[in-house]
């Protein structure tokens, strides 16, 4: 390969390697809705890195100024907050789930439920009171007095955590058509050690920290593209609906399409980031000026000034908008191709849409007008009673979840050291995650159960190539 140094300029050489190497096929971006046929999962934001840094790399098509802004956001994303007053990064808490963005979104990747001997690190619990009338009224969840809408299980020394959560798993065995036994673990969550009593009828919903790369691309998908996949009444009779969530946009001061979060309850990355500062770290911003502990005995003093400036909010938002998507690997492997075919045949691709085209995201040209392979429709789907959290969130009912993107899923083991999937990490590998699918995905799960072992292996190898 060294001979190439003399044939091509260095920059060109490296851009070849970054863009096209690791595969024998040149760029083939255009594709059918069912097959991606390209390793460029993030369009021109794709990076070719198969190390544990695969989720942490800036989009390669950033301008120098945008790149600098990304790096500023990177520093803030890693910033560890402490109890005020302090010289560096004050404002933590008094109650919170974690002390920095990176501590939950480790290596910009995916969180997991705690091991038996650990506390909660990258899994949190949303709380709410049940709605008396129509549970899907399009309104936000009702806060629990004294707790709000999220259990903050940690606190500064002079305050008390709102409570802890005890997690118990019960194993159940599922047998596929060819007699293979798969063990699924059913979680049971008990809120314990609360600083004051919780109402009996509290709704509790677990949420694991999702990976944060490629999010600008998802934000750049035009609303009409997403709505084109919606089929709320299942007019085409395929058993799969797809429902948009409409959620409160605090900047626009109106209901807009929800895109982010496990139930698509955040409309923009700016609001997602600000909400995470507020709900997860107890840090106020101009979007959420009220401490998450407001109204509680925990809150002793409150600054009128946001604890994180608009400038920081802006660069952190930009950071998650411009993290690159890792390229697929082994796309020409026959087993991978077979798995991709099976993925389509089982109708997985009806919700996990392989190919979408982004529009224009203001201020972020690198994610604009890209052909991407996220494997999501960003819509809500009924996933059946076993995955249900029974906690409505705007238009999402207690059985509905947003289709999560699958890009990068094959690298989670390398980046985050685990293969825990689904909204609470109950699945311990990809096959378990598939077999948890119910509701609208019932037929798809059954199709996988009917597959031979070789076919299921191919399906997994395909997913691992993402």
């Amino acid at each position: 390969m060294k001979y190439f140094h003399s044939l091509l300029s260095l920059t060109c050489l490296v851009s070849i390697l970054l863009s096209a190497c690791d595969s024998e096929s040149p760029v083939t971006v255009e594709s059918t809705p069912v097959f991606a046929t390209s390793e460029f999962s993030g369009g021109e934001t794709t990076v070719f890195d198969a190390s544990s840094h695969a989720f942490s790399i800036p989009a390669p098509n950033l301008s120098p100024a945008a790149f600098e802004k990304h790096l500023e956001g990177d520093v803030e994303f890693e910033a560890v907050f402490v109890t005020a007053p302090a010289v560096v990064n004050p404002g933590l808490g008094p109650i919170y789930n974690n002390v920095s963005c990176i501590n939950c979104h480790s290596r910009d990747g995916r969180g997991r439920p705690p091991d038996s001997d650990e506390g909660l690190v990258s899994l949190l619990f949303r709380l709410s009171l049940p709605k008396t009338e129509d549970s899907i009224d399009g309104k936000p969840p009702i806060p629990v007095p004294g707790f709000g809408t999220q259990l903050n299980n940690r606190a500064i020394v002079d305050a008390d955590p709102e409570g802890k959560v005890k997690i118990d798993y019960t194993e159940q065995t599922l047998t596929t058509a060819d007699g293979t036994r798969v063990h699924l673990r059913y979680p049971n969550y008990t809120v314990t050690e609360t600083y004051q009593p919780l109402p009996e009828d509290v709704e509790v919903s677990p949420r694991v920290a999702p990976a944060v790369f490629g999010l600008g691309l998802l934000e750049a998908i035009p609303e009409d593209v997403i709505l084109a996949y919606a089929d709320e009444a299942d007019a085409d009779g395929d058993g799969i609906s797809g429902k948009p969530n409409y959620v409160w946009d605090v900047v626009a001061q109106r209901y807009t399409l929800g895109r982010f979060g496990w139930k698509a309850n955040q409309p923009t990355l700016l609001q997602q980031v600000a909400a995470a500062y507020n709900d997860d770290m107890g840090i106020t911003t101009s979007l959420f000026r009220t401490e998450n502990s407001a109204g509680q005995s925990q809150l002793t003093e409150h600054s009128a000034m946001p604890e994180v400036s608009d400038e920081i909010l802006d660069v952190v938002t930009f950071y998650v908008q411009t993290l690159a998507v890792p390229a697929r690997r082994n796309i020409d492997d026959p087993q991978v191709k077979q798995g991709e075919q099976l993925f389509a045949e089982a109708q997985c691709a009806s919700c996990h849409i392989p190919t979408l085209r982004t529009g224009v995201l203001a201020g972020v040209p690198s994610v604009s007008n890209q052909t991407i392979h996220p494997y999501t429709d960003l819509l809500l789907h009924d996933m059946g009673p076993e995955l249900a959290d029974n906690r409505p969130d705007f238009h999402a009912n207690g059985r509905e979840w947003r289709t999560p993107p699958l890009w990068g899923i094959g690298l989670v083991k390398r980046v985050n050291g685990h293969t825990n999937f689904l909204h609470d990490g109950r699945a311990r590998d990809l096959m378990e995650a598939i077999l948890w699918h119910g509701g609208e995905a019932e037929a798809s799960r059954q199709a996988v159960e009917q597959m031979s072992k070789a076919e299921r292996d191919a399906l997994i190898v395909f997913l691992e190539s993402l």
């Binding site: 050489l13 851009s15 190497c21 096929s25 040149p26 560890v80 402490v82 690190v121 020394v157």
Partner: protein
């Protein structure tokens, strides 16, 4: 991670999709053989050129002679620090304080060197924040010291990472960098010091065991890359991990640890500011790069240098020289670093430039070479 400044450089040259596509077509038509270095299924039989590099010896050496040996040294040094802290608690003499301070610095050395491979269990088990969180939460720490809580190991272990680990111990042992008087250390501080150092030792043991054959044996996941490793299905992905680790710390030292306090002229941003150990910290970071590249810690083995040398001896020689130059340039900054960010700006800038050069060569030459090479 502040990775890959170089990415944007490529972008400047190959901005349009057309340009990239053209490059790719060129590549595909003239150099089919060289691609597929990310061949995760380890199928290489169809490649017919002779420059396949078997990285198994190098990876095995990296995992054991470098990483595991560094973590073993860290764990041993943490044990010595614990003994020194216990001796200080038993007899709070100035001599015992100075011994504990020296033991802290000695423990810091392998830790800083290990920052050239911050991946695997140190990250996935949350050990990096447990050991090295910054800043210290002074308000929380003081609240605990002022409380009536029994400062047992269990109690302190349950506190936030920002009131445990290296920098909390550093604060208790050194305070503000001036001569700390043993007689100023309170009994509560001594109790806290012993418990938090016990907790540090637990973390360093966990880290060592995570890599050790008698523990979780992450070493084998690296050493067996491409031959059964569940983490690294190809040798190239593991070699890329090695190089990325070096890039990350070079970037961190050049553009974070040295530049941030220097650009802002802000001493509160300086690493290891209580002990005035900053310059040693930075040098050890670059020595960590040297260790990975040369394949050595206490003993020498096959490193990346042999691989680079086999392809490009000039690059190998230049990089070795650049790494040493960076260590020397950092060492040329007058102590303490926190004064030099204002008083000796030329020396600080020279160190930034020297480390940036290391980063640049890693990104533009060595990573490129690795990504374009065929591994077994």
């Amino acid at each position: 991670m502040k990775l890959y400044k170089v990415w944007t450089l490529f972008d400047a040259a190959c901005k349009s999709k057309f340009a990239i596509g053209l490059c790719c077509l060129l590549l595909a038509s003239t150099f089919v053989v060289g691609c597929g270095s990310d061949d995760e299924t380890d199928e290489h039989d169809d490649h017919d050129h002779g420059e396949v590099f078997d990285a198994s010896t190098m990876l095995n050496n990296f995992a054991n002679t470098v990483v595991l040996a560094t973590y073993t040294d860290l764990d041993n040094k943490a044990g010595e620090l614990l003994s020194a802290v216990k001796a200080l608690a038993a007899d709070t003499s100035q001599g015992n304080l100075e011994k504990a301070q020296q033991a802290w610095k000695a423990t810091r050395t392998p830790w800083e060197q290990s920052e050239s491979f911050l991946f695997g269990p140190v990250d996935t088990q949350g050990l990096d924040p447990a050991l090295d969180s910054w800043p210290v939460d002074h308000v929380n720490l003081q609240s605990v010291l002022d409380s009536g809580d029994d400062l047992t190991v269990d109690f302190v272990s349950g506190l936030e990472d920002t009131q445990k680990g290296f920098h909390t111990i550093e604060f208790l042992l050194f305070r503000d960098g001036n001569q700390r008087k043993a007689s100023d250390i309170t009994d509560r501080e001594l109790e806290y010091l012993v418990s938090t150092t016990e907790n540090l030792k637990t973390s360093t043991s966990q880290l060592r065991l995570a890599w050790a054959p008698e523990g979780e044996n992450f070493s084998s996941a690296v050493a067996q890359a491409g031959t059964g490793s569940v983490i690294y299905p190809s040798q190239s992905s593991a070699v890329q991990e090695m190089v990325n680790g070096m890039i990350v710390i070079a970037d961190e030292v050049a553009n974070g640890k040295i530049s941030d306090p220097y650009n802002e002229s802000d001493t509160t941003l300086v690493e290891s500011q209580f002990s005035f150990n900053s310059i040693s910290d930075f040098q050890d970071n670059i020595r960590g790069i040297q260790n990975v590249y040369m394949g050595k810690f206490m003993t020498d083995g096959q490193g990346l240098n042999e691989f680079v040398n086999s392809h490009d001896p000039d690059l190998d020689a230049r990089f070795q020289q650049e790494v040493q130059a960076a260590i020397d340039a950092i060492g040329a900054i007058p102590d303490p670093f926190r004064d030099s960010i204002t008083a000796n700006r030329g020396a600080v800038q020279a160190a930034i430039d020297a480390v940036s050069k290391v980063q640049q060569t890693l990104e533009q030459d060595i990573l490129t070479l690795v990504q374009s090479s065929e591994f077994n």
